[in-house]
């Protein structure tokens, strides 16, 4: 089974407020707040860590949910944010051009 890698889009602005991440996509001004679990995935989305590892290390342990449940929720979350252009998804590690 292939791995999924996720990275935060460079087009977004993000900041944590009261434990939840605010995310705004400057391309279309869409604005989201992520709950605590989604925030944990967002913060771990470095493009290099497989989603399965993020779920295991950052979700199951911290929020005491089963691996199966966490994986299903994470996949749904990732698909939704990718649809809004604020997460980049690939089956290979992602290297983004950083701001020089």
């Amino acid at each position: 089974m292939s791995e999924t890698y996720i990275a935060r889009s460079p087009a977004v602005a993000a900041r944590k407020l009261a434990g939840e991440m605010m995310v705004m996509n400057s391309e279309n001004s869409t604005f989201f707040t992520l709950n605590e679990v989604a925030t944990a995935i967002w913060q771990a989305a470095d493009g290099q860590t497989p989603l399965s590892e993020i779920v295991r290390d950052h979700i199951c342990e911290t929020f005491e949910v089963t691996l199966e449940q966490a994986r299903a929720d994470a996949e749904h979350f990732v698909a939704e944010l990718a649809g809004h252009g604020i997460l980049i998804v690939s089956d290979r590690p992602i290297v983004l051009e950083t701001i020089q």
């Binding site: 460079p10 087009a11 977004v12 602005a13 993000a14 900041r15 944590k16 407020l17 009261a18 605010m22 705004m24 400057s26 391309e27 001004s29 604005f31 989201f32 707040t33 950083t98 701001i99 020089q100």
Partner: protein
């Protein structure tokens, strides 16, 4: 309440500085007749100092960051500062006259994912705009830059300051904004010079003209609703606060001075001497500003407009008392609704008398 509104309320309740306006220079290549700034450089923060401030702001929870001036592009390190800000994941807005923006700069700004470019344009007629900016060909250069930015897909807002020098031109300027495919805001605020010179206030439009602006549906939306007499204030209204100044918003000058707002010149500390969060959390002045509720206001607490007035505490402060009325806003409330304010009744006036001071920004948004 919208999601953005909820976030704003959360920040307000928790005392998180959600938004900061940072002027990085007061120097400018235009000499606008209505400008309140001293354009000499009295010791601007260095690149390293500003980057350090940005690091602190990110740590403090600031999300919305506005770079302004002066003319921001006069700083040779401007792109370096914006890049640093974007690396820290701020939502960045830039206020500029745009005359130094060419196609190359527009592309670079697009690549940095700037949220909004707010550009000063005072007329649809070159001769009127250039007479206000005192920079020949500035109209031509600004409009050209707007096109470059728009072509790159950046969100652009034309900001027009309404004054006697361009009074008849605001419809034309709004039309030009629509033709260019950008947003438009109109602001009738003229602020006294930083050195206290009030001469510039002669440019303020007469109150009667304000009434006409408030009754223009193209600018205010539902005119009936916008100009409706104020409802009776409730007990809850008297528990309310004036605005976000000092609660979830503040202003930092090019010299590192921190103020509750751009138009609230109450010094609360300097980031060259103290940590930003120490000023934000512990400055007695900042805490005084954020302690003031509507019920604490002299005169205004008994005013029928108390819940709907745009009363600016900074302007009231400039008039002598941050808990007092802001006369320019009394004027706006009166001309918007036709209902006398408590301050007018106290002074026995049938019509408001301008205080000789600038007013709170009323940003009348018109969608493209």
């Amino acid at each position: 309440m919208s999601l953005m509104g909820e976030v704003g309320q959360t920040a307000f309740n928790l005392g998180v500085p959600l938004a900061v306006h940072l002027d990085i220079t007061y120097r400018c290549n235009e000499r606008c007749v209505h400008c309140y700034l001293d354009h000499d450089d009295h010791g601007e923060m260095t690149t390293a100092e500003i980057k350090g401030v940005l690091d602190q702001l990110a740590e403090a929870g600031v999300f919305f960051l506005t770079f302004s001036g002066g003319e921001v592009f006069l700083r040779r390190d401007f792109f370096e500062l914006v890049e640093h800000a974007r690396r820290l994941m701020f939502n960045v807005k830039i206020k500029t006259n745009a005359v130094m923006i060419g196609e190359k700069e527009a592309k670079r700004l697009r690549a940095l994912n700037i949220d909004t470019m707010q550009i000063s344009l005072y007329s649809h007629r070159a001769e009127v705009h250039d007479a206000i900016t005192k920079l020949p060909h500035s109209f031509e250069r600004t409009v050209k830059a707007i096109k470059f930015l728009h072509d790159q897909g950046l969100r652009v807002t034309i900001a027009n300051v309404l004054m006697t020098a361009n009074l008849g031109d605001h419809y034309g300027t709004q039309k030009l904004a629509a033709e260019l495919g950008v947003h438009y805001t109109l602001d009738p605020t003229i602020t006294p010079m930083m050195d206290g010179d009030m001469g510039v206030l002669e440019l303020r439009i007469p109150g009667k003209e304000l009434e006409e602006v408030f009754r223009n549906p193209a600018l205010v939306g539902n005119q009936e609703e916008f100009c409706a007499p104020p409802p009776l204030p409730s007990a809850e209204d008297l528990e309310g606060y004036s605005c976000s100044a000092g609660h979830s918003f503040c202003y930092i000058s090019p010299y590192g001075d921190v103020f509750p707002c751009v138009q609230f010149p109450l010094p609360t500390g300097n980031v060259r001497q103290q940590k930003f969060l120490d000023i934000w959390n512990f400055s007695p002045q900042m805490n005084e500003v954020r302690s003031i509720q509507a019920r604490d206001l002299t005169t205004c607490s008994s005013c029928s407009h108390v819940a709907s007035c745009t009363r600016c505490p900074g302007l009231a402060y400039m008039e002598g008392n941050m808990r007092g009325p802001s006369t320019a806003d009394c004027e706006k409330s009166f001309y918007r609704t036709g209902v006398a304010t408590a301050n007018m009744l106290r002074l026995g006036l049938e019509k408001p008398v301008s205080a000789g001071r600038g007013g709170q920004l009323i940003q009348i948004q018109a969608a493209v």
